[in-house]
Amino acid sequence: MSTPPGVVATARMIAARDLRIEWRARVVMNQVIPFAAVTMVLFAFAVDDTGALGRLAPGLVWLTVMFSLLLCAQRAFAIESADGALEALRVAGVDPVGIFLGKAAALAVQLLALAAVMVLAALILYDLDPPAGGVVLLVTSAICATCALAATGTIYAGLAAGVSGRETLLPLLVVPVVSPVLIGATRAVEAALGTGGTAVADGWPWVGLLAVVAVASAVVGALTFGSAIRD
């Protein structure tokens, strides 16, 4: 008799499936990333001052990633509710902790790719001159920040999946909760890119904050996700 997979195996299975679907359908790549890129261009129109734009760049990057999070999280559960798969997962008794971790991990990978493109766009569009030593800080802070964003987005997108009015509800729920991520990620990237006049080393306390937020959101999500998605 076969035995059902454990939490980690379930999470890996769900994450692999979500990434495979994204690889086939290319919704994030062909729709969300272009949207995010054009947002970066529009910021330049709104600010209209190259110097200021350079100073604002880290914040603009993470604002854009946050808007994209709303779209990606929505999409992550649209594939589940399109043909009743979320309900089928529940009937099949698939561990909700595994579903949560898997979907959050897949979302984090997509957001990380998106953040990388946005940082690159900022470097090109806003004419930045980053210090060489900032790369490790940049990558570490981006990983922590995207994990925190993905965990929060997954909790609430799962909660709102299949409910009428979810499109407007999701931003209201997610945005206030991710504000610490936005603060931390912005300051860390500021230090890494040298735009805020701070040294690279000043960025590391913010990575600590981001890591705490990421772990806290993952723990809260793992504990509550089963209740959020149940009928």
């Binding site: 499936r17 009743g84 309900e87 099949a92 008794g93």
Partner: protein
Amino acid sequence: MSADRPTTPDRDHGSTDAAVVLEAAVVVMGAFPALAGVDLRVRRGTLVGLRGPNGAGKTTVLRLCAGLLRPDRGTARVLNVDVADDPAPLRWRVGYLGHSNGLYDDLTALENVTFWASTVGAGRGDVDAAMAAMEISDRLRDVRVRHLSAGQRRRVALAGLVARRCELWLLDEPHTGLDVDARDQLDRLLRAGADAGATVMLSSHDLDRVDAMVDHGVDLVAGRVSREVRR
């Protein structure tokens, strides 16, 4: 997992041959009693047809048996598990196909069935057997389900249940959207499933078709069983 434990004799009913026992089951949707006191006994390995007009409670009976709903009054025992108490041990022994199929449009037929099989740890052998049993040809296996017909999608979804070796199949209006040939094929496959030991419960508007194929016909009217026919 607890689902592996040997089934204990059902003392209230004297035997373990009952897959489903509902007694005076009431289920309320909002303020509306979708089931107004249903008494029903279903033997294992039989093919059961639920018939009745819209709103008679067919879907609610199936969702109750899937552990998606709890009885507000009365009792519901499915595969010797008390649904009111905790439906968790029931999960993954029961397969429920609602109006939707629970498929991911951008995955192929094989990938979908493999995913559903892996949720219970079933392996490649189970998947191949299920694909063969549901007459999914090698040509269809690698087609994204987005491009399949309604009948083919339904068969892929059923293959998911077979691969998971579900003991109880709950099918809500499985004939909807299928042409006559596909309906005949589906009926043949369901009969084969029941002959292989699964208990199959389906709902349908198509009274003549149901009469012709099932072992046990149940007429539902206004949330109650009005007539039963057994062969």
